[in-house]
Structure formats: structure tokens, C-alpha cells
């Protein structure tokens, strides 16, 4: 590669000044970047308006992309289905038979549960979701894990609302634009979710590890009772997520908890569901509510 020859402008005053101005601008750009980073670090929500506008502009592209994603997956699945079809068919029949029995048992249990709950006077709060929308983008190169979904204030989405798929929890809404919102994924290190073990309700909370797994920390420190394959669901404490949304499965154990794999991989989901905040709590950051929420 030959060296650039525009470094020696000769006697042209204009060219000399041009090069000098370039350097000044570059250093000024770096300094401006430093200032902006410091502002962004001090106040996390700053520049949200810029991102909001930028996402609104490009979101249609992302929507097309997300359709392509589910489409391409179907093609591969369809090809794969032809291999070993007979055995698969038999296995599926067997599974359906077992599932049917289990379904009846579950229905009976749900019925009984409902009856017991009415006896106790617990009020079921199951409200319809706010929006069902596409996931249009997610940070790919950054260690922060954000995603953009195709619904915003126009669809009734608000900050703090939980986002999930049919398989499990995805994250919660962080910033809202008119037609897009930014979601803090469960795998982000800033996202802490209160959980309990699905089997017996051992309480824990999860922190993202930015590499697709979660770190589970038990609330009661002692002998680690977790085992590989344990499934954790949201516990409902904290008030954002309603209890019982599946989140993660234990992959390996650590001294004070476990490393868990998330159940609802954002990479495998085209559509996401935005739920209401489980229990509205007065937001300490916002202006004080006219009346405190009744717990």
C-alpha cells in the first residue's frame, strides 16, 4: 500500500489550512464524544429522544427482516421434517397420548386450584395483553442487550411493561416512542428479575451476563439446593412481572446459585407480547401519585 501523498500540500496555503482544520475537527469530535459519554453515563435516559426518532425511521426495515426470519426458519424446518418421518410420527403419536392424559389431569388440577383460591378469597388478575408485536431489532455488537419492538405509545405501551413470548420472559420496556419501544432484555446485566423455582418456590433473582445466560443468586444463602435442569419462573415480587412466567433453566451450579439458560431466546421469536405491569406501584422517580396504590 503506497503512502498517501496528500500529506505534503506544498506551498498552497489553502491545502495546509485544510489539513490543519481536519485535525482540529477530529480532536474536537473525540472531545465531544467524551463529553457525550460522560453525560450518558451520569444520566442513563439522556439522548433517548434521538434513539426514539432513529428507531421510528428504520423500524419498517426491521419488521420486514423479522418476517424473513420466521420464514427462513420454516423452510429449514420443512426440509428437516422429511428425514426420519415415520419414526417421528410414531414418537409424536406416543407423546400426544401421554399429553392427552396429562392435559386432563392438569384441567382437574386447575379446577381444584380455582376452587381453593375462591375459598381463600384470592382475586385472579388476568388481564389481556397490551399489544402483540414484532421484535424488529436487537443490539448485535454491543455488550448491552437491548431490543426494539414495533409497538409504542400509540398501541398503549408504557415504560416498565413486561415483554414476553409464549415460551417465556424476554424483558421489560425501557423507552417508548410513538410506534416503537426499546426493551431491556433479561440477558442484560442491568436487568434483575425476581424468580422462584417452579417446583417448590425457592426464591432467587437473576442478573444477565451479556452472553446469553443468566446468573441466578439465591436469596437464602446456605447449602445450594439447585440442580441442573431446574426451571425458574417469575415470582411476582417487585410488581413488574406477574408470577409464573417461565424464565430460565439451570445449566451449571455456582457456590451461591447457578448459571441458567434463558428459555425464550430472542433469536427464535418473531412475535412478542407486551403485558401490563402486574401491580402498579408508585414510581419513586415520578411525581407523587395523587393516591397511593392499594396493595
Amino acid at each position: 500500500m503506497p503512502p498517501p501523498n496528500d500529506r505534503r500540500p506544498g506551498f498552497s496555503r489553502r491545502a495546509q489550512l485544510g489539513i490543519f482544520t481536519g485535525y482540529v475537527l477530529a480532536v474536537a469530535g473525540a472531545l465531544a464524544g467524551l463529553v457525550l459519554v460522560i453525560v450518558a453515563v451520569v444520566d442513563n435516559g439522556s439522548f433517548a429522544f434521538l434513539r426514539r426518532g432513529a428507531n421510528e425511521v428504520v423500524a419498517p426495515v426491521g419488521a420486514a427482516g423479522s418476517a424473513a426470519r420466521s420464514g427462513s426458519r420454516n423452510v429449514f424446518e420443512k426440509i428437516g421434517d422429511y428425514f426420519d418421518a415415520a419414526n417421528k410420527n410414531a414418537a409424536l403419536r406416543r407423546e400426544v397420548r401421554i399429553a392427552r392424559v396429562q392435559q386432563i389431569r392438569m384441567r382437574a388440577l386447575a379446577e381444584e386450584n380455582h376452587r381453593l383460591k375462591t375459598l381463600l378469597g384470592v382475586v385472579e388478575t388476568s388481564r389481556p395483553p397490551v399489544a402483540t408485536t414484532r421484535m424488529v431489532a436487537s443490539t448485535s455488537a454491543s455488550t448491552r442487550r437491548f431490543a426494539v419492538i414495533g409497538a409504542g405509545t400509540n398501541q398503549g405501551v408504557e415504560v416498565r411493561m413486561p415483554v414476553r413470548t409464549a415460551l417465556g420472559l424476554v424483558g421489560r420496556v425501557l423507552e417508548v416512542g410513538p410506534n416503537t419501544s426499546r426493551v431491556l432484555l433479561v440477558t442484560d446485566a442491568e436487568n434483575v428479575v425476581p424468580l422462584r423455582r417452579a417446583r417448590d418456590g425457592i426464591a432467587a433473582f437473576s442478573e444477565g451476563r451479556a452472553d446469553g445466560t443468566l446468573r441466578l443468586r439465591l436469596i437464602n444463602v446456605g447449602v445450594n439446593p439447585l440442580k441442573r435442569g431446574d426451571v425458574f419462573v417469575t415470582s411476582g415480587s417487585g410488581g413488574i412481572y406477574r408470577p409464573g412466567i417461565p424464565v430460565a433453566q439451570v445449566q451449571s451450579l455456582t457456590p451461591d446459585g447457578a448459571i441458567a439458560r434463558i428459555l425464550s431466546d430472542p433469536a427464535a421469536s418473531e412475535f412478542v407480547i407486551v403485558d401490563r405491569v402486574f401491580q402498579e406501584l408508585p414510581d419513586p422517580a415520578a411525581t407523587p401519585a395523587p393516591e397511593p396504590a392499594v396493595q
Binding site: 500500500m1 503506497p2 503512502p3 498517501p4 500529506r7 481536519g22 485535525y23 475537527l25 477530529a26 480532536v27 474536537a28 469530535g29 473525540a30 465531544a32 464524544g33 467524551l34 463529553v35 457525550l36 459519554v37 460522560i38 450518558a40 453515563v41 442513563n44 439522556s46 434521538l50 434513539r51 432513529a54 428504520v58 426495515v61 426491521g62 427482516g65 423479522s66 418476517a67 424473513a68 426470519r69 427462513s72 421484535m135 424488529v136 431489532a137 436487537s138 443490539t139 448485535s140 455488537a141 454491543s142 455488550t143 448491552r144 442487550r145 437491548f146 431490543a147 426494539v148 440477558t187 442484560d188 446485566a189 442491568e190 451476563r209 451479556a210 452472553d211 446469553g212 430472542p266 433469536a267
Partner: protein
């Protein structure tokens, strides 16, 4: 069966302009395509900027990842343009391109403005010290810059909350270093594309 052969002319690239309407004007037109044609100044100047910005939109690909595995393609393209065509992008190009990248990358706003500007300045210094470089040296230089960029970007991301371990970016780093020649290849292709002679402007643009 008459086979109409297109005369290949002076060995130049066949322009993209379609064959024209009147038969009498066809020869004229064909000659005019190669003579007195220059690259469109818009393409010649705009393709480097545009390609980096399009690669900044990577998060909108139909690939929602749960881990940071995607290489920073926009930054890699910026480096490749800088190495392949020194002086094509001005020294200060890191700031505006970085600002655009920050809108979509999920990093705290300003991190790419800072790091890309610094990378451009480092390249200026390197150009003074190492005047004749081969591709392997360029690759090693890009590897150093990309590694520094990823580590510093992760550090800035951690400063805004989140404490991801440095180990989380190792797969991404490895992938980026391997893919650098590919990105250079892509940029070289774009470099050919931007200099296709299509406009009538006689000024010799394109370095």
C-alpha cells in the same frame, strides 16, 4: 441466425447505461459511453459514507441475538476504507459516522463518536510511522484497533450499568479478526463500484 456482438471497445468497463432508442444514434451513444465519461461525483464521494452507515444498521438484520457475537461491521468498514483509500474519508469522519452508529448500537451515546475519532487519529499517526505497509501489517493493525475498540466499548457500556465480564466479548473479538479480510474485500468491491464511469462530468474525481 444473426448474432449481434457487442464490440468490447477499448477494454474499458461496460457502462450500466442501456442501449439507446434511435438506431442512428446507437454508435454515437456507444462511443460516448466510454469517451468523456467520469465517475459520478455523488457515488465517488458518497459510497464510503453510505456503506459505513448501512453497516451501522446491522441490529435491524433478521437476527436477534442473545449474546454479543456480531462483529462491529461498521467500525471494521471504516477501518478498511481508511486503509484502502487513505484520505478518502477525512480525519474527522469518525465523529459523524460514530454518532449515527450510536443511535442504533445500544452503546451509551457518544461512545462510538469518541472511539471512532480516536481510531482515525491513531491511523493518522500510524501512517506517519509505517509508511509502506503490506496487507498482513494492515491486518495486524486492524486487529489491534478492533480489539482496543471492543474492550473500550464494553468498558463504556459497563459504566452505564451492567457489569458484563470481558470474557463475554472474546468470541466476538475472534470473529471480527477473522472477518477483517472479508470486510476489506467488500470495501474493495464498493471502491470499484463507486468509480464506474457513468456521468458526463469531465472532471477527474476519484483518487
Amino acid at each position: 441466425m444473426a448474432v449481434v456482438r457487442q464490440p468490447r471497445g477499448l477494454g474499458g468497463r461496460q457502462p450500466l447505461v442501456k442501449q439507446l432508442r434511435r438506431p442512428g444514434a446507437a454508435l454515437n451513444e456507444r462511443l460516448r459511453k466510454r469517451i468523456n465519461r467520469a465517475p459520478s461525483p455523488l457515488l465517488a464521494r458518497g459510497v464510503p459514507w453510505l456503506s459505513v452507515m448501512v453497516l451501522s444498521l446491522m441490529p435491524f438484520l433478521p437476527l436477534v441475538a442473545s449474546a454479543p457475537i456480531m462483529p462491529p461491521f461498521a467500525f471494521m468498514a471504516l477501518l478498511a476504507w481508511r486503509m484502502l483509500r487513505p484520505g478518502m474519508l477525512p480525519v474527522w469522519a469518525g465523529a459523524p459516522l460514530g454518532a449515527f452508529d450510536d443511535l442504533y448500537s445500544g452503546q451509551p451515546f457518544g461512545s462510538a463518536i469518541l472511539l471512532w475519532s480516536l481510531a482515525m487519529l491513531v491511523m493518522e499517526i500510524v501512517d506517519v510511522r509505517l509508511r509502506w505497509r503490506g496487507f498482513l501489517q494492515d491486518w495486524a493493525l486492524a486487529a489491534a484497533l478492533i480489539a482496543a475498540y471492543l474492550v473500550l466499548a464494553a468498558g463504556l457500556a459497563n459504566a452505564t450499568g451492567g457489569n458484563s465480564p470481558v470474557a463475554a466479548i472474546l468470541p466476538q473479538l475472534a470473529l471480527s479478526l477473522i472477518l477483517h479480510p472479508l470486510v476489506t474485500r467488500l470495501v474493495a468491491g464498493l471502491d470499484r463500484f463507486r468509480l464506474i464511469p457513468i456521468s458526463r462530468a469531465p472532471s477527474g474525481l476519484g483518487r
